[in-house]
Amino acid sequence: MGTYILKRLLAAIPILIGISALVFFSLKLVPGDPLSAITGDAVIGKEEADRLREQYGLNDPLHVQYLRFVGRAIQGDLGRSLQFKRPVIDEIGAQLPATLQLTAAAMVIALTVGLSLGILAAIRPHSLLDALTMSVAMAGVSFPSFWVGLMLLLIFSLALGWLPATGTEGIERLIMPAATLGFGAAAIIARLTRSSLLEVLQQQFIVTARAKGLSFVKVVFRHALRNALIPVVTIVGLQFGNLLAGAVVIETVFSRQGIGRLLVTAILGRDFPLVQGVILFVASVYVIVNLLVDLSYALIDPRIRYA
């Protein structure tokens, strides 16, 4: 298993290098002026602009800039953000907790809501309860998350005034974004749990277990669920990546701090070092999460072993 993990991690390195080069050179195709990362809104004279471009090394040829980036990245230095004038790594570190908090909360919501809805629906298939829960799930996969967020804002912040609309501090600022983000994932998990559970419940060993006189609830929770969870785990892993991506929009709707907004700000400002850093970081996380998902199969499904 150790070799397997090592192999997987090593295989990720060329992918990460490919991504970084791809991102770097394609970003340079974008027409924007990286100087606006430094000067922001200010209108400045052309001579000053030229001086600044020179001072920040923005006039250097692309490959020189890229090699400079790679050279430093190997030493663990992702460079300094043009926009925020501090190390990229610090900028990521500052934004990470908020995004982790958001995705973790969303995942908790998605799992609890998704699993319970899915199990409820599967226990009594084709009942009213099934129809009801599956309608909610259908809404979850069909409604645009940014719109759901706006509607929550409209209701809970504007009309009722129960929850603050913006910001990052405190649990009350986490509720709406996490619920919005978790809703979609919950719907997918609910649908999958239901179908997976239904499939397992039809299988021979379940029928046998029931025949042996075990109660239905016991059968579901002791035997069926464990087997039904295998495809759910795959989806949870995939959903994690999607939650990260979804955070880009949700953080915008709710003006939360976080990696998603950082990335967008960096792209908009043509803050190349920062874009590089964030992309590399997100891609690495994604690769690692996918690896963890693969490994978790082995825990749930003993038939799978890694050579």
Partner: protein, 301 residues
């Protein structure tokens, strides 16, 4: 801004899902009896109809400003209210309907054709072709597809066409993997082997035997994929990367409305609802089709 999980669900391999087993009339009967498929197709048909009407006629000129009557509440004059420029929201939604459908259609067509072009040879020939294709797909999959689409539009510049392109490209890996897996599943089957032994050319085998056999899962994935593409496209437009004003694209309308959301609830409610209903109808249809066409995927999410 989420990817439909089902987009990555792979069919079981080694299964024969020849459509020939279901005569067309029987299929139609089952289609109508399938509530999900029927409801979805009726709803979606209605939306297509409205979109067709919307390109020809709307109650008001969808881009005409009427400052006197800005922010009118929904009522008899303006069915769904008017926006901050006094433009009729119902007219704008009608006029923009075909754009959302177009985003879905164009991007999914792009993804399906690329998926076939890449997945068929990868699955059929295997070897280095397979290796090359699948490594490229791995590279694309090392990013959440929405981020990939976001990156592509950021580079190509904001426009509706670029959104279609970006959403299409970002979903190529799902289709490629589906096609490849389906081909792998039937490649070893006796009748393919037989055709090969009889000396049929690979192209002939692929078009005559392979494609018809992978059509069913592909149709299901494409239907659900269209729903997903409309969502992703709307999200990109919402982020300001899609169509440019005054084009009444739904995501862009929502993005514009967001700045005025406290001046009238109808500004944000209706464009979002329009997206939601369209996506919902396609998802229902896709679910139903899956039950009908593809018994082996019936239990996927």
């Amino acid at each position: 801004m989420r990817e439909r999980a089902v987009a990555l669900a792979l069919p079981r391999t080694g299964a024969d899902r020849a459509l020939a087993a279901h005569p067309a009339s029987a299929l139609l009967r089952r289609f109508i009896r399938n509530r999900s498929a029927f409801a979805g197709s009726v709803l979606f048909g209605l939306i297509v109809l409205l979109a067709l009407i919307g390109t020809r006629a709307t109650p008001y000129d969808p881009v005409q400003m009427d400052i006197e009557n800005r922010l009118a509440e929904p009522g008899l004059d303006h069915l769904l209210g008017s926006d901050h420029y006094g433009r009729d929201i119902f007219s704008r939604l009608l006029a923009g309907a075909h754009l959302s459908l177009l985003i879905g259609l164009v991007s999914v067509s792009l993804a399906v054709s690329s998926g076939l072009l890449l997945g068929l040879p990868a699955g059929y020939f295997g070897g280095w072709v397979d290796m090359l294709v699948m490594r490229a797909m791995d590279l694309m999959l090392s990013f959440p597809s929405v981020l990939l689409a976001l990156g592509i539009v950021a580079i190509a510049g904001p426009s509706l066409f670029n959104v279609m392109l970006a959403v299409g490209i970002a979903s190529v890996p799902s289709y490629t993997r589906l096609v490849r897996a389906s081909v792998l599943g039937i490649r070893g089957l006796p009748y393919i082997e037989a055709a090969r032994a009889l000396g049929s050319a690979p192209l002939r085998i692929i078009t005559q035997h392979v494609i018809p056999n992978i059509l069913a899962p592909l149709i299901v994935l494409a239907t659900l994929g269209t729903a997903g593409a409309i969502l992703t496209g709307a999200a990109l437009s919402f982020l300001g990367l899609g169509s440019q004003p005054p084009v009444p694209e739904w995501g862009a309308m929502l993005s514009e409305a967001r700045n005025y959301m406290r001046l009238g609830w109808w500004l944000t409610v209706f464009p979002g609802l329009a997206i939601a209903i369209t996506v919902l109808s396609l998802n229902q249809l896709g679910d139903g089709l899956r039950d009908l066409l593809d018994p082996y995927m019936r239990n996927s999410p």
